[in-house]
């Protein structure tokens, strides 16, 4: 069985060229939104805005300036995190979402029926419906390429190797080195999702960031949707029980009244 594979995205070398976005669309033959005819978002150079069914890669642009020319411009190519413990995979009722031999998470479009449970389950807002297929879609980490030993389209295209593909073990080592190098240069860098002990058992697509996670649109502590299951279920059962009792008590009272003889129920308001 092959090693777990994934992405390490070093945001400090991203030049925001969006090659990853297009290479992904080219390989996966994803359509442009509204045939490419769109409006300027005004959100820096980000006109993609989000990951969804036809955008499996999304480059974020974050302008942080104190005044003219005085600040920094953060860029980051976002993608499905291929969580080690994946919420989408947990809730998917059809079994369309599977974990592959590469430890990646893939939605089988021919199985999915578009119930959209996975969309709500993903803590990162990665998944959405592809209007063409009517099914939920997201990055497959180019499962078809991996199977024949090819690198995913996006990381292959990335001109500055901001997106790096490889075995998780190797990527984690590389990422750690890079963090140390940056720390040595006085840059406050940290990894997001590289820790197996961290949220979701670690992310098979993890990032090097130089600001708060939220600045990059990443939840600080992503969780599994099922975290609420036991509690939520228990409270429901409890309230069901309460209602059951109330109903029975009602009946019992009625019987009592009858034994007490006389229709205490009153006939005041027949409807």
């Amino acid at each position: 069985m092959p090693e777990p594979m994934g992405f390490f995205t070093d945001t400090t070398v991203c030049i925001g060229c969006k090659a990853c976005e297009v290479a992904c669309k080219e390989w996966n033959q994803l359509p442009a939104e509204n045939g490419g005819v769109r409006e300027l978002s005004g959100d820096s150079y980000d006109n993609t805005r989000r990951l969804d069914g036809i955008h499996w890669r999304h480059v974020r642009f974050i302008e942080q300036f104190k005044g003219p020319y005085d600040g920094r411009w953060l860029m980051m190519s976002d993608v499905c995190k291929h969580c080690v413990q994946a919420g989408c995979l947990e809730v998917c009722p059809t079994g369309a979402i599977i974990r592959t031999e590469f430890d990646t998470v893939v939605i089988q479009s021919d199985v999915c029926n578009g119930c959209r449970a996975c969309i709500a389950a993903c803590p990162f807002g990665v998944i959405d419906i592809n209007p063409v297929s009517g099914t939920a879609q997201k990055c497959t980490l180019c499962y078809d390429r991996l199977k024949v030993g090819l690198e995913p389209a996006c990381s292959k295209a990335c001109p500055t190797d901001s997106i790096q593909f490889g075995s998780i073990a190797e990527l984690r080592a590389r990422a750690q080195k890079r963090v140390e190098q940056l720390k040595a240069q006085g840059v406050d860098a940290h990894l997001y999702g590289a820790e197996p002990s961290g949220p979701l058992g670690g992310l098979n697509s993890f990032y090097l960031l130089v600001d708060k996670d939220e600045v990059y649109g990443l939840p600080h502590n992503p969780q599994l949707p099922t975290r609420n299951l036991t509690k939520s279920a228990s409270w429901s059962v409890a309230s069901a029980a309460v209602l059951g009792v109330l109903a029975l008590v009602g009946l019992r009272k009625r019987r009592m009244d009858e034994h007490a003889g006389g229709g205490a129920g009153g006939t005041g308001h027949a409807s």
């Binding site: 005004g42 449970a117 009517g134 649109g217 939840p219 429901s236």
Partner: protein
């Protein structure tokens, strides 16, 4: 910085799902109450029982329909029940409310239809021989058994929709474990209200109706309680209610949907009025909780990146 649920994407569960949650809730609630009467009630309760079975049956079918229509690929509805790759292997995830729910609705519907047939056979209102045969079987203890199972499933259907919402990463829904309870109670109250509205047409006895109204007011009280607990449990998330949906929740659900009917019950005013308000409240409850969350999309640094370091 925003709470962790604000980074997820909206599933667009709206104009099919909201009515489904409402109908499923009241059908489940109605069946539950009916099955209580089936077990512990008296002959005089039969009209209400029959109404209950019809409501449940129709509700279940309607629910299935809405749920299917909402799918991106409706014809693949069965993928939720069987593994499309290797039929007849069953697709079932005990930990996935939507998976369990799919099965629940199916079985609930089955029970409801059987019960309905049974009750109609009882009245001798079944023409088609095949149906008469089936209906004939569902009587006495069999009827009790079916109703028993169906009643429990009924409550499940009423409640799991809320649990389903909690088992996501969406704002509001996943931020409290009380949505399941809330929807379940609301299901019960709306169920009761439906029976109160429809049963008289089938010659319901006054006593049964009284029992229903008593139950309804108690359910409403519980609902109010659970709603309060739910809101408390949301903590800082509650700022999302500073919107039209908050207004709707307060005035529509609490005001018209709970307090007003309670008052009417207390004043022993005509039952129908209260019942109608209860139904309205039940619907608005789902509308508000669904759309308030649907409206919140993936969090991002403000337009033009003028968030971040900049003032």
């Amino acid at each position: 910085m925003p709470p962790d649920t604000f980074f997820s994407g909206a599933p667009h569960w709206t104009w099919f799902i909201i009515p489904y949650f409402f109908v499923g809730g009241l059908a489940g609630g109605a069946y539950f109450l009916t099955s209580i009467l089936e077990w512990f009630g008296k002959p005089e309760d039969r009209p209400v029982v029959r109404t209950g079975y019809d409501v449940a049956a129709v509700g279940a079918i309607l629910s299935g329909l809405l749920l299917t229509l909402d799918l991106g690929r409706p014809l693949r509805f069965w993928h939720m029940l069987f593994e499309s790759a290797n039929v007849p292997a069953i697709a079932f995830k005990a930990w996935s409310p939507i998976s369990v729910g799919a099965w629940a609705i199916l079985l609930f519907g089955l029970c409801a239809v059987l019960s309905a047939l049974g009750s109609r056979a009882e009245e001798g209102r079944l023409q088609m021989p095949a149906l008469r045969a089936v209906g004939g079987v569902v009587r006495g203890d069999v009827a009790k058994l079916v109703a028993g199972v169906g009643g429990i499933l009924g409550f499940f259907v009423a409640g799991y929709t809320g649990v389903l919402l909690s088992v996501t990463n969406r704002p509001i829904w996943a931020d409290s474990p009380w949505l399941g309870a809330l929807f379940l109670v609301s299901g019960a109250s709306t169920g009761a209200a439906t029976l109160i509205l429809l049963a008289p047409g089938r010659g319901a006895a006054q006593r049964t109706l009284d029992w229903l109204s008593t139950f309804d007011s108690r359910a409403l009280a519980v609902e109010l309680l659970v709603l309060i607990v739910f809101l408390v449990s949301l903590g800082q998330i509650n700022r999302v209610w500073l919107s039209f949906w908050g207004f709707l929740l307060l005035v529509g659900v609490v005001g018209f949907g709970i307090l007003a009917p309670l008052r009417l019950h207390a004043k022993r005013a005509p039952l129908a009025q209260a019942a109608k308000l209860v139904l309205l409240g039940g619907f608005l409850l789902r509308l508000a909780t669904m759309l308030a969350s649907e409206g919140i999309d993936r969090y991002r640094v403000a337009l033009g990146g003028m968030g971040g370091m900049a003032p």
